[in-house]
Symmetry: C2
Subunit: 337 residues, 2 copies
């Protein structure tokens, strides 16, 4: 077996990369939520002065990356790889950002799992000796996502209570081969699971099985259990997906309820902000990680966190053709040592 592989899907990093800087940029609604104090930039205009939401999303992603590089005191010339993806068709936010920054670029698509997908690959590239600095980044925008995936906003379509609210936000993490932590120590790469959910307004339920599969695999590969973590946080399962995840794990005798939450629940005050089941989108886990989680790890609140962004790998075409919604979840262990 490959030297750094433990178990079936997990890598134990031998020279754990350090997160030396991170940044988050959010829209007005996220800036009015419970995590507002953790974000670096809160935009008051969700167009960011651009003519359309797609360009606004791209600008937000650029701003998050530039801010993270400034905090890390590095320039684009120092960065070996930019690993990024987003929800827009052909990931234009990421590709146009890469055009602007001129960093060697690896485009990813993992839907809302992109933050942990990019962190995973970035950590592997550094641990493998291929890079000194990697930037992992992603973004989403409520308005660009709604009009691409669902309905024109002008229609004012009523949303069911299972629906989630796509986060307007971008997050960027700078990984380095040296630094004082937090460190990335384990990576569990997910498989695609699909239990047959077809309702695109119930993504949490569609993604929960993948989250459960990755948590179970992570525990079995590493020998860890719930007691080894202060926090297990999924990407954007929101209320319904979170409850399902707890329930499915309990059936297998695993109880993580004391240390488990979801980025889609933390980001909004769902009652007051009328976001139904909670937040979603690549930007959801990206800004919660690059705002709340990493800050609290650095403060010492959490010693070891399992961060697990989750993605629903559907498209409008696959839904129209009667397909169900496949889900994926990648887990990344982040800790101070």
């Amino acid at each position: 077996m490959a030297v750094k592989k433990i178990g079936k899907q997990t890598v134990k990093l031998q020279n754990p990369p350090s997160i030396i800087a991170y940044a988050s940029v959010v829209g007005p609604k996220e800036g009015d939520g419970p995590l507002k104090e953790y974000f670096d930039q809160i935009e008051q205009d969700d167009y960011l002065g651009e003519k359309c939401w797609e360009k606004a999303e791209c600008k937000m992603l650029q701003n998050a990356i530039i801010l993270a590089m400034q905090k890390a005191k590095i320039t684009t010339a120092d960065v070996d790889y930019l690993l990024a993806g987003d929800l827009l068709n052909q990931i234009i936010s990421s590709s146009f950002t890469a055009r602007q920054l001129q960093i060697p670029y690896i485009g990813l698509y993992g839907a809302c799992s992109t933050m942990s997908e990019s962190l995973s690959l970035g950590a592997l590239l550094i641990d493998g000796g291929f890079a000194d600095y990697v930037i992992a980044a992603t973004s989403s925008h409520f308005s660009s996502a709604e009009r691409q995936y669902r309905f024109p906003l002008e229609l004012g379509t009523q949303r069911p209570l299972t629906a989630q609210w796509t986060v307007t936000g971008a997050g960027a993490t700078v990984l380095s081969s040296s630094g004082d932590g937090p460190y990335i120590t384990y990576i569990t790469t997910g498989r695609v699971l699909d239990l047959g959910i077809k309702d695109a307004n119930n993504m949490g339920a569609a993604m929960a099985p993948a989250a459960v599969d990755t948590i179970k695999t992570h525990f079995s590969d590493t020998g860890f259990g719930p007691d080894d973590y202060d926090l297990i946080i999924t990407g954007d399962l929101a209320k319904i997906g979170k409850d399902l995840t707890l329930e499915l794990l309990k059936k297998d005798g695993i109880d993580i309820s004391n240390i488990y939450t979801d980025c889609g629940i933390e980001i909004y005050d769902c009652e007051r902000q009328d976001t139904h089941a909670g937040g979603s989108g690549c930007g959801c886990s990206a800004v919660v990680l690059n705002g709340y989680i990493l800050t609290e790890i650095k403060k010492g609140t959490f010693k070891r966190v399992l961060f697990m962004a989750t993605g629903a790998l559907l498209s409008t075409t696959s839904s129209q053709q009667g397909e169900s919604i496949p889900g994926i979840a990648h887990a990344v262990t982040i800790e101070m040592r």
Copy 2:
């Protein structure tokens, strides 16, 4: 600098992964072209018995991967990572294939550069000690691409002579930490370049600057020149992009004309098959690599090849919003030793 990095954008692999098997599946038009003897499966029905082209594309990708695994005498349980992407929105061909195969999955988006993007990452994951077997794969389908990116086929829209024909095909490569070659020895990861081309019917011109940039960077990082290669082959620049690439390189005093061709030119007999500037799509470089190139390397025709798939990172939305077309090219050195 990271231990395995040479120059700015290039990695020299210290334990070069071996390509232990490869497979290609193509549609009827490709099976009627000059490379037909190299393909494993030539489909006579471009629906592959499915109800729509998107499902046909997905099936083609699955078939190519399963065939490559059979040739490698491995099963899905042996494979550490599936690295795949395609042109369809949210890369559904790849994600639904990953759902079927249940291999840990990393979804990529690099447009038509996906074959070299996936090969690059796969080789890095093996050289880094994270995997024993990786599958790199991609696909495209003329009919699913046309209706997503351009016009409904039923319209019978006339195509300008600069237009390229999206290849119906899928290719898969099995990389291993041990084997008798061909080996992947160098990887040059591209930056995104954009010289302002806005015509989505002239992708070759839009991608040529990225190809030129990556070739120049590869030469300067490695110290290699045209004499060190028997073949330099770009992904899908086709006639116009190929001529531009040669011209731009000549301006910098680099002449690769004796050893240079493009997958988009090789795959069709453009005059007889009425494919205008030539082939394109993720599947173009995928089937030329996993048919013609690797077979001829194994035969000894080519000793060292620079394979460089090229991608146009536009979307219909970015074009409608007036954006030009960013391009990217990743280079992979493949050789017998």
